[in-house]
Protein backbone atom coordinates (compact mmCIF):
# COMPACT_ATOMS: atom_id res chain seq x y z
CA UNK A 1 0.00 0.00 0.00
CA UNK A 2 2.76 2.37 0.93
CA UNK A 3 4.42 1.54 -2.41
CA UNK A 4 1.33 2.62 -4.34
CA UNK A 5 1.02 5.78 -2.27
CA UNK A 6 4.71 6.46 -2.85
CA UNK A 7 4.23 6.10 -6.59
CA UNK A 8 1.30 8.51 -6.57
CA UNK A 9 3.20 10.98 -4.39
CA UNK A 10 6.18 10.83 -6.75
CA UNK A 11 4.03 11.46 -9.81
CA UNK A 12 2.22 14.34 -8.14
CA UNK A 13 5.51 15.84 -6.97
CA UNK A 14 6.89 15.61 -10.48
CA UNK A 15 3.82 17.30 -11.90
CA UNK A 16 3.79 20.04 -9.28
CA UNK A 17 7.49 20.84 -9.12
CA UNK A 18 8.08 20.58 -12.88
CA UNK A 19 11.85 20.29 -12.50
CA UNK A 20 14.13 20.43 -15.50
CA UNK A 21 16.54 17.58 -15.94
CA UNK A 22 20.18 18.69 -15.69
CA UNK A 23 21.92 18.48 -19.04
CA UNK A 24 24.41 15.85 -17.85
CA UNK A 25 21.65 13.55 -16.66
CA UNK A 26 19.48 13.84 -19.74
CA UNK A 27 20.85 10.82 -21.65
CA UNK A 28 20.67 8.58 -18.56
CA UNK A 29 17.29 9.38 -17.08
CA UNK A 30 15.13 7.47 -19.60
CA UNK A 31 17.28 4.34 -19.29
CA UNK A 32 17.31 4.68 -15.52
CA UNK A 33 13.53 4.92 -15.47
CA UNK A 34 13.19 1.78 -17.58
CA UNK A 35 15.66 -0.04 -15.32
CA UNK A 36 13.68 1.05 -12.25
CA UNK A 37 10.50 -0.21 -13.87
CA UNK A 38 12.21 -3.54 -14.39
CA UNK A 39 13.18 -3.63 -10.71
CA UNK A 40 9.63 -2.73 -9.73
CA UNK A 41 8.14 -5.59 -11.75
CA UNK A 42 10.80 -7.93 -10.42
CA UNK A 43 9.86 -6.92 -6.89
CA UNK A 44 6.17 -7.46 -7.60
CA UNK A 45 6.90 -10.89 -8.96
CA UNK A 46 9.09 -11.80 -5.99
CA UNK A 47 6.31 -10.67 -3.68
CA UNK A 48 3.85 -12.97 -5.43
CA UNK A 49 6.40 -15.74 -5.31
CA UNK A 50 6.63 -15.17 -1.62
CA UNK A 51 10.32 -14.50 -1.72
CA UNK A 52 10.17 -10.69 -1.53
CA UNK A 53 13.00 -9.24 0.43
CA UNK A 54 13.32 -5.49 0.95
CA UNK A 55 17.09 -5.68 0.93
CA UNK A 56 17.11 -7.47 -2.39
CA UNK A 57 14.54 -5.03 -3.75
CA UNK A 58 16.61 -2.00 -2.71
CA UNK A 59 19.80 -3.49 -4.08
CA UNK A 60 18.26 -4.56 -7.38
CA UNK A 61 16.50 -1.21 -7.81
CA UNK A 62 19.64 0.86 -7.22
CA UNK A 63 22.00 -1.47 -9.09
CA UNK A 64 19.65 -1.62 -12.07
CA UNK A 65 19.56 2.15 -12.28
CA UNK A 66 23.29 2.57 -11.79
CA UNK A 67 24.28 -0.18 -14.23
CA UNK A 68 21.89 1.08 -16.87
CA UNK A 69 23.24 4.60 -16.56
CA UNK A 70 26.77 3.26 -16.60
CA UNK A 71 26.20 1.29 -19.77
CA UNK A 72 24.78 4.34 -21.50
CA UNK A 73 27.68 6.46 -20.30
CA UNK A 74 30.17 3.88 -21.51
CA UNK A 75 28.37 3.65 -24.84
CA UNK A 76 28.51 7.40 -25.22
CA UNK A 77 32.23 7.36 -24.55
CA UNK A 78 32.74 4.56 -27.07
CA UNK A 79 30.58 6.24 -29.68
CA UNK A 80 27.91 3.55 -29.63
CA UNK A 81 25.62 5.29 -27.16
CA UNK A 82 22.50 4.99 -29.27
CA UNK A 83 22.95 1.32 -30.03
CA UNK A 84 23.84 0.44 -26.47
CA UNK A 85 20.84 2.37 -25.17
CA UNK A 86 18.68 0.38 -27.56
CA UNK A 87 20.27 -2.85 -26.31
CA UNK A 88 19.63 -1.95 -22.67
CA UNK A 89 16.03 -1.02 -23.42
CA UNK A 90 15.51 -4.27 -25.31
CA UNK A 91 16.96 -6.39 -22.52
CA UNK A 92 15.02 -4.56 -19.83
CA UNK A 93 11.90 -4.76 -21.94
CA UNK A 94 12.27 -8.52 -22.25
CA UNK A 95 12.76 -8.79 -18.51
CA UNK A 96 9.71 -6.63 -17.83
CA UNK A 97 7.69 -8.80 -20.16
CA UNK A 98 8.79 -12.04 -18.54
CA UNK A 99 8.16 -10.61 -15.06
CA UNK A 100 4.74 -9.41 -16.18
CA UNK A 101 4.02 -12.87 -17.57
CA UNK A 102 5.00 -14.44 -14.24
CA UNK A 103 2.78 -12.00 -12.36
CA UNK A 104 -0.03 -12.77 -14.75
CA UNK A 105 0.35 -16.49 -14.10
CA UNK A 106 0.21 -15.87 -10.37
CA UNK A 107 -2.85 -13.69 -10.52
CA UNK A 108 -4.86 -15.29 -13.31
CA UNK A 109 -3.44 -18.81 -13.27
CA UNK A 110 -3.00 -18.48 -16.98
Amino acid sequence: MIAVIGLVVGVVAGLLLQPTVPLELQPYLPIAVVAALDALFGGLRAMLDGIFDDRVFLTSFLSNVVVAALIVFLGDQLGVGTQLSTAVVVVLGIRIFSNAASIRRHLFKA
Binding site: A3, V4, V8, G10, V33, H106
Partner: protein
Protein backbone atom coordinates in the same frame (compact mmCIF):
# COMPACT_ATOMS: atom_id res chain seq x y z
CA UNK B 1 -5.83 -17.07 3.35
CA UNK B 2 -8.61 -16.07 5.71
CA UNK B 3 -9.91 -13.34 3.45
CA UNK B 4 -13.42 -13.68 2.06
CA UNK B 5 -13.24 -15.40 -1.31
CA UNK B 6 -13.35 -13.18 -4.37
CA UNK B 7 -16.16 -13.77 -6.87
CA UNK B 8 -13.76 -15.73 -9.04
CA UNK B 9 -12.15 -18.84 -7.75
CA UNK B 10 -9.86 -18.22 -4.80
CA UNK B 11 -6.27 -17.69 -5.71
CA UNK B 12 -3.17 -17.46 -3.67
CA UNK B 13 -1.85 -14.76 -6.00
CA UNK B 14 -4.64 -12.34 -5.21
CA UNK B 15 -4.45 -13.16 -1.56
CA UNK B 16 -0.76 -12.45 -1.52
CA UNK B 17 -1.36 -9.17 -3.31
CA UNK B 18 -4.07 -8.20 -0.88
CA UNK B 19 -1.83 -9.05 2.01
CA UNK B 20 0.92 -6.99 0.53
CA UNK B 21 -1.42 -4.06 -0.02
CA UNK B 22 -2.48 -4.08 3.55
CA UNK B 23 -1.20 -1.03 5.36
CA UNK B 24 1.79 -2.08 7.32
CA UNK B 25 4.53 0.33 8.33
CA UNK B 26 7.20 -2.24 7.96
CA UNK B 27 10.69 -1.36 6.82
CA UNK B 28 10.19 -3.12 3.49
CA UNK B 29 6.96 -1.27 2.81
CA UNK B 30 8.47 2.13 3.55
CA UNK B 31 11.51 1.35 1.44
CA UNK B 32 9.40 0.22 -1.47
CA UNK B 33 7.27 3.36 -1.08
CA UNK B 34 10.33 5.58 -1.21
CA UNK B 35 11.71 3.84 -4.28
CA UNK B 36 8.35 3.94 -5.99
CA UNK B 37 8.08 7.63 -5.23
CA UNK B 38 11.51 8.17 -6.80
CA UNK B 39 10.46 6.11 -9.80
CA UNK B 40 7.20 8.02 -10.28
CA UNK B 41 8.99 11.31 -9.94
CA UNK B 42 11.66 10.36 -12.48
CA UNK B 43 9.03 8.95 -14.83
CA UNK B 44 6.97 12.10 -14.84
CA UNK B 45 10.04 14.31 -15.18
CA UNK B 46 11.33 12.28 -18.11
CA UNK B 47 7.97 12.29 -19.85
CA UNK B 48 7.71 16.03 -19.44
CA UNK B 49 11.26 16.51 -20.61
CA UNK B 50 10.65 14.33 -23.62
CA UNK B 51 7.60 16.34 -24.59
CA UNK B 52 9.40 19.63 -24.07
CA UNK B 53 12.59 19.10 -25.98
CA UNK B 54 12.84 16.04 -28.13
CA UNK B 55 16.28 17.08 -29.41
CA UNK B 56 18.03 17.39 -26.07
CA UNK B 57 17.83 13.66 -25.38
CA UNK B 58 19.48 12.69 -28.65
CA UNK B 59 23.06 11.59 -29.03
CA UNK B 60 25.65 13.62 -30.87
CA UNK B 61 25.55 11.35 -33.91
CA UNK B 62 21.78 11.68 -34.15
CA UNK B 63 22.01 15.44 -33.80
CA UNK B 64 24.66 15.61 -36.54
CA UNK B 65 22.50 13.46 -38.79
CA UNK B 66 19.44 15.62 -38.15
CA UNK B 67 21.48 18.74 -38.76
CA UNK B 68 22.73 17.29 -42.04
CA UNK B 69 19.26 16.35 -43.13
CA UNK B 70 17.89 19.73 -42.19
CA UNK B 71 20.71 21.53 -43.95
CA UNK B 72 20.39 19.56 -47.16
CA UNK B 73 16.63 19.92 -47.04
CA UNK B 74 17.06 23.67 -46.54
CA UNK B 75 19.48 23.82 -49.46
CA UNK B 76 17.03 21.95 -51.67
CA UNK B 77 14.23 24.29 -50.65
CA UNK B 78 16.43 27.34 -51.25
CA UNK B 79 17.25 26.04 -54.73
CA UNK B 80 13.58 25.48 -55.36
CA UNK B 81 12.80 28.99 -54.16
CA UNK B 82 15.35 30.40 -56.58
CA UNK B 83 13.97 28.36 -59.46
CA UNK B 84 10.42 29.37 -58.73
CA UNK B 85 11.40 33.01 -58.29
CA UNK B 86 13.16 33.00 -61.64
CA UNK B 87 10.14 31.37 -63.23
CA UNK B 88 7.86 33.93 -61.67
CA UNK B 89 10.03 36.83 -62.87
CA UNK B 90 10.06 35.32 -66.32
CA UNK B 91 6.32 34.97 -66.35
CA UNK B 92 5.82 38.48 -65.03
CA UNK B 93 8.13 40.07 -67.56
CA UNK B 94 6.51 37.91 -70.20
CA UNK B 95 3.08 39.14 -69.26
CA UNK B 96 4.43 42.70 -69.10
CA UNK B 97 5.79 42.35 -72.61
CA UNK B 98 2.52 40.87 -73.73
CA UNK B 99 0.59 43.67 -72.09
CA UNK B 100 2.86 46.28 -73.65
CA UNK B 101 2.44 44.67 -77.04
CA UNK B 102 -1.31 44.62 -76.57
CA UNK B 103 -1.34 48.29 -75.54
CA UNK B 104 0.78 49.22 -78.53
CA UNK B 105 -1.51 47.25 -80.80
CA UNK B 106 -4.58 48.88 -79.31
CA UNK B 107 -3.12 52.36 -79.72
CA UNK B 108 -2.07 51.47 -83.22
CA UNK B 109 -5.55 50.16 -83.95
CA UNK B 110 -7.12 53.36 -82.64
CA UNK B 111 -4.78 55.51 -84.69
CA UNK B 112 -5.39 53.47 -87.78
CA UNK B 113 -9.11 53.46 -87.13
CA UNK B 114 -9.26 57.23 -86.94
CA UNK B 115 -7.01 57.78 -89.91
CA UNK B 116 -8.84 55.28 -92.09
CA UNK B 117 -12.27 56.42 -90.99
CA UNK B 118 -13.27 53.20 -89.22
CA UNK B 119 -13.75 54.87 -85.84
CA UNK B 120 -15.68 57.96 -84.76
CA UNK B 121 -13.37 60.76 -83.67
CA UNK B 122 -13.50 63.87 -81.55
CA UNK B 123 -11.16 66.75 -80.89
CA UNK B 124 -10.49 70.35 -81.83
CA UNK B 125 -10.94 71.36 -85.41
CA UNK B 126 -12.85 73.57 -87.84
CA UNK B 127 -16.21 73.50 -89.54
CA UNK B 128 -16.23 75.02 -93.01
CA UNK B 129 -19.65 75.59 -94.53
CA UNK B 130 -19.67 76.25 -98.27
CA UNK B 131 -22.75 77.73 -99.89
CA UNK B 132 -23.49 78.47 -103.54
CA UNK B 133 -25.24 81.82 -103.63
CA UNK B 134 -23.86 82.91 -106.99
CA UNK B 135 -22.74 79.81 -108.81
CA UNK B 136 -21.85 76.17 -108.46
CA UNK B 137 -18.77 74.69 -106.88
CA UNK B 138 -16.73 72.42 -109.13
CA UNK B 139 -15.61 68.97 -108.05
CA UNK B 140 -11.98 70.02 -108.45
CA UNK B 141 -12.59 72.83 -105.97
CA UNK B 142 -13.85 70.32 -103.47
CA UNK B 143 -10.79 68.17 -104.11
CA UNK B 144 -8.65 71.23 -103.65
CA UNK B 145 -10.39 71.88 -100.36
CA UNK B 146 -9.77 68.30 -99.21
CA UNK B 147 -6.13 68.42 -100.13
CA UNK B 148 -5.72 71.71 -98.33
CA UNK B 149 -7.24 70.18 -95.23
CA UNK B 150 -4.93 67.20 -95.44
CA UNK B 151 -1.92 69.40 -95.96
CA UNK B 152 -2.89 71.36 -92.86
CA UNK B 153 -2.80 68.15 -90.87
CA UNK B 154 -6.48 67.30 -90.55
CA UNK B 155 -6.71 63.83 -89.05
CA UNK B 156 -10.40 63.06 -89.57
CA UNK B 157 -12.55 64.74 -92.24
CA UNK B 158 -16.28 64.58 -92.77
CA UNK B 159 -18.27 66.13 -95.59
CA UNK B 160 -22.05 66.34 -95.22
CA UNK B 161 -22.06 63.27 -93.00
CA UNK B 162 -19.75 61.24 -95.22
CA UNK B 163 -16.42 60.22 -93.77
CA UNK B 164 -13.60 61.01 -96.16
CA UNK B 165 -10.84 58.48 -96.36
CA UNK B 166 -7.72 57.89 -98.40
CA UNK B 167 -9.74 56.24 -101.14
CA UNK B 168 -12.42 58.95 -101.32
CA UNK B 169 -12.83 60.51 -104.72
CA UNK B 170 -14.72 63.54 -106.04
CA UNK B 171 -16.41 63.34 -109.41
CA UNK B 172 -19.46 64.70 -111.11
CA UNK B 173 -20.17 68.14 -112.55
CA UNK B 174 -20.67 71.56 -110.96
CA UNK B 175 -23.98 71.49 -109.14
CA UNK B 176 -23.86 67.72 -108.82
CA UNK B 177 -20.60 66.96 -107.15
CA UNK B 178 -20.35 63.30 -106.14
CA UNK B 179 -18.27 61.91 -103.35
CA UNK B 180 -17.60 58.18 -103.78
CA UNK B 181 -20.64 57.97 -106.00
CA UNK B 182 -22.99 59.88 -103.65
CA UNK B 183 -24.39 63.15 -105.00
CA UNK B 184 -23.84 66.04 -102.61
CA UNK B 185 -25.97 69.14 -102.44
CA UNK B 186 -25.15 72.55 -101.06
CA UNK B 187 -24.50 73.65 -98.47
CA UNK B 188 -21.37 71.59 -98.10
CA UNK B 189 -20.32 71.23 -94.49
CA UNK B 190 -16.73 70.20 -93.99
CA UNK B 191 -15.86 68.98 -90.53
CA UNK B 192 -12.16 68.47 -89.95
CA UNK B 193 -10.37 67.48 -86.75
CA UNK B 194 -6.89 68.89 -86.44
CA UNK B 195 -5.14 72.04 -85.25
CA UNK B 196 -7.85 74.70 -85.78
CA UNK B 197 -5.42 77.57 -86.27
CA UNK B 198 -3.31 75.72 -88.81
CA UNK B 199 -6.30 74.52 -90.79
CA UNK B 200 -8.06 77.87 -90.74
CA UNK B 201 -4.92 79.66 -91.84
CA UNK B 202 -4.28 77.11 -94.57
CA UNK B 203 -7.79 77.41 -95.94
CA UNK B 204 -7.73 81.18 -95.94
CA UNK B 205 -4.40 81.84 -97.64
CA UNK B 206 -4.70 84.00 -100.75
CA UNK B 207 -5.29 81.80 -103.80
CA UNK B 208 -6.10 78.92 -101.44
CA UNK B 209 -9.09 76.67 -101.08
CA UNK B 210 -11.60 79.25 -99.90
CA UNK B 211 -10.39 81.63 -102.56
CA UNK B 212 -11.11 78.92 -105.14
CA UNK B 213 -14.59 78.47 -103.70
CA UNK B 214 -15.22 82.20 -104.05
CA UNK B 215 -13.86 81.95 -107.58
CA UNK B 216 -16.59 79.39 -108.29
CA UNK B 217 -19.18 81.85 -107.03
CA UNK B 218 -19.52 80.21 -103.65
CA UNK B 219 -19.18 81.46 -100.12
CA UNK B 220 -17.16 79.92 -97.35
CA UNK B 221 -17.83 80.25 -93.64
CA UNK B 222 -15.12 79.03 -91.29
CA UNK B 223 -15.63 78.23 -87.59
CA UNK B 224 -12.94 77.10 -85.22
CA UNK B 225 -14.04 74.74 -82.50
CA UNK B 226 -12.15 73.55 -79.45
CA UNK B 227 -14.15 70.34 -79.54
CA UNK B 228 -16.17 68.70 -82.24
CA UNK B 229 -17.22 65.21 -83.11
CA UNK B 230 -17.21 63.19 -86.28
CA UNK B 231 -19.61 60.29 -85.91
CA UNK B 232 -19.70 59.07 -89.49
CA UNK B 233 -17.57 56.03 -90.21
CA UNK B 234 -16.58 54.13 -93.27
CA UNK B 235 -16.31 50.38 -93.41
CA UNK B 236 -13.32 49.37 -95.39
CA UNK B 237 -13.24 46.28 -97.54
CA UNK B 238 -10.59 43.77 -96.58
CA UNK B 239 -7.55 44.08 -98.77
CA UNK B 240 -7.89 41.63 -101.60
CA UNK B 241 -4.31 41.53 -102.83
CA UNK B 242 -2.16 43.12 -100.22
CA UNK B 243 -1.24 41.19 -97.07
CA UNK B 244 0.95 42.39 -94.24
CA UNK B 245 4.64 41.56 -94.42
CA UNK B 246 5.29 38.95 -91.71
CA UNK B 247 7.38 40.36 -88.88
CA UNK B 248 11.04 39.41 -88.89
CA UNK B 249 11.63 36.23 -86.95
CA UNK B 250 13.04 36.63 -83.46
Amino acid sequence: MTEPTPPARPSTGWATLRTALRFRASRGQILAGLLCAALGFALVVQVRQNNEASLSGLSQADLVRILDETTSRGDALATEVNDLRGERDELMSGSDKRQAALDALRRSAETQGILTGRLPAEGPGVIATLTEPNGQIKPVTMLNMLEELRNAGAEAIDLNGHRITASSAFAGIPGAVTLDGVVLTAPFTWTAIGDPDTIATALQIPGGALAAVRGNGGEGDLQRRTKLEIRSVRTLPDPQFATPVPPAAG
